[in-house]
């Protein structure tokens, strides 16, 4: 089983469009996972038929029982996240600021603070319109813990792939280099980076490559919108060569990405032969990996 995580550093480079197109070509050969859980949108292209829905319980929020509270103020004084304030004669917790660390619960002399479990979102097992198993999630509004939800989605995708005996897992990762990204790296065999020929794309690529090198995971790169800036494209190629990141393909700017998206289709379902063959080349590259 080969787990390929598609990442980008910078957002909006075409990562999800390319992942969905690879999923279209892979059909039943892949389990697909959307790990960009706080802006999960691959389902718009995969039209999944939902098989299972689960609540994602993660993290805690402090709750003060005002009838027991003696208003000593120790919780406010000790809270490192300024989450407890005094208003209209009572202490209240602001759930947005509460980190769920339980310190107030432990130190409250009146034992007036309870830690309540958060339902931070939901995760789903579905069947995509390409026949593949699709694992995805939805983070609750103003909820945190996206890194843990990514971990959940990954674990379920991995067990589904074993259960179905499927050779590939295709994971759409989050942008950036932080917690959800690091969480989606665990267990990855290869990182396929989708960048774009812009100064921002290059800058973000450099940081992402440093991250995956730290975790000793092999990466390769697709330069999307490669005709935006020739000089930057050359800089990306030089950087990739120097860092042992092979360039799989370069795709010129194309309105096909938006046009197909508006129809709920992937780019390989367009009439653009040159884009289709580029994605086919990328899929062949994925299949040729050990």
């Amino acid at each position: 089983m080969n787990e390929i995580v598609i990442m980008s550093g910078k957002g909006g480079t075409g990562k999800t469009s390319i992942t969905a197109a690879l999923a279209a070509l892979a059909g039943e050969k892949a389990v697909v996972a959307d790990c960009d859980v706080d802006a999960a949108n691959m389902h718009l292209l995969l039209a999944p038929e939902r098989m299972e829905t689960h609540d994602f319980v993660s993290g805690k929020t402090a709750y003060i029982h005002t009838e027991t509270c003696t208003a000593c103020g120790l919780c406010t004084e000790k809270c490192r996240f300024d989450a407890i304030s005094f208003a209209q004669g009572t202490y209240i917790v602001n759930p947005v600021d509460c980190e769920g660390c339980s310190l107030c619960h432990y130190i409250c002399p009146a034992k007036a603070i309870e830690m309540k479990d958060n339902t931070a979102g939901q995760w789903f097992i579905s069947r995509s319109r390409f026949g593949s198993r699709f694992v995805h999630a939805k983070l609750g509004i103003a909820q945190e813990n996206s890194g843990k939800l990514v971990g959940k989605v990954k674990t379920i995708a991995q067990s589904s792939a074993r259960e179905l005996d499927v050779p590939y897992i295709l994971v759409d990762g989050a942008p950036g280099i932080g917690c959800p990204v690091i969480s989606s790296l665990s267990g990855a065999d290869h990182i396929l980076i989708v960048t774009e020929a812009s100064e921002s794309g290059l800058h973000d690529l450099e940081r992402l490559v440093e991250l995956i090198q730290y975790f000793s995971i092999q990466g390769s790169c697709i330069i999307n919108k490669c005709d935006l800036n020739d000089a930057v494209k050359t800089k990306i190629e030089t950087f990739c060569n120097a860092n042992n990141v092979s360039i799989v393909n370069s795709i010129p700017y194309s309105s096909v990405f938006t046009e197909t998206l508006q129809q709920g289709k992937t780019i390989v379902e367009s009439n653009d032969r040159s884009i289709i063959s580029k994605i086919e080349e990328i899929w062949n590259y994925v299949q040729s990996m050990e």
Binding site: S8, G9, K10, G11, G12, T13, D36, V37, D38, A39, N41, L44, G59, K60, K78, R80, V96, D97, E99, G100, C101, S102, L103, Y106, I107, L139, I141, A142, Q143, N145, S146, G147, A174, P175, G176, I177, G178, C179, P180, V181, I182, A197, S198, E199, S200, H203, D204, R207, E210, L211, Y214, K225, L228, N229, V232, Y253, T258, L261, Q262, G264
Partner: protein, 285 residues
Amino acid sequence: MNIAIASGKGGTGKTLIATNLAFTAGKRFPVALYDLDVEEPNDHLFFDSADTPEHGVDKMIPDVDPQKCTLCGTCTQVCEFHAIITLPDQVMVFPELCHSCYSCLEMCPEGAISSGTKTIGTISAEKQGPVSLVTGRLKITEFATAALISETKKEPSASNNITFYDAPPGSSCPFIETVKDSDYVILVGEPSPFGLHDMDIVARTLRNLHTPYSVIVNKDVEGNTIIDEYCRENNIDIIGRLPLSMNIAREYANGQLIVKNIQGMDTLFEQLLDTIIAKTSGEHK
């Protein structure tokens, strides 16, 4: 007055709008631009940013004194983040997992834990003419995005009345940390199904936080009205539009400000700024 520029989806033009807006405002008064997309900060690419001195940002991690520790396991029990583990012969700290809540330090019955430090990133502050540019930069392999955003916001800058925050993508902790003390949020909407889907998530989050917001449509194409329809249904003001344009994409790709290099953009951003100033007067949290 803190005004955040956000979008949910990445690549919709947050940085484009934030940098050009800050430059335009800087022609009228001293203004600050905080790049809070600390995982991938790009605002500096659009200014003549030299090697600006940075200072490190530390977070607190527990420092266990093995002489005093009795291996009682209290720290491990109270830690909600599995960041401190009691082994038969020692206590091990996992700094990346630590949320710096001080629970272990407060609860240790032996007083064996003191506060140590770990670097999570850097902050730089520079003057770009009238624009004070403050950049948070997460150390690669670090998790503490929200903590660094919180510290970056505290960095002083020379701004008269408006501070722009370039927000991180998504709708989770980093986004919430950015907008929770913003007086006003500008959502950059991209008229595509992905753009709309993710903008809807952040719009719901902002309603939940009771933060006022409006929308700028970027990559606007005539005949594509999905953002317009959404805003009409939800009673959200659209305060400006930028066309889908290869010229804009090329200038952006080259690290250039479009108000300097594309004719007509300076007027467009002047008008945008007027609208924002009019909208936000009186919106103080």
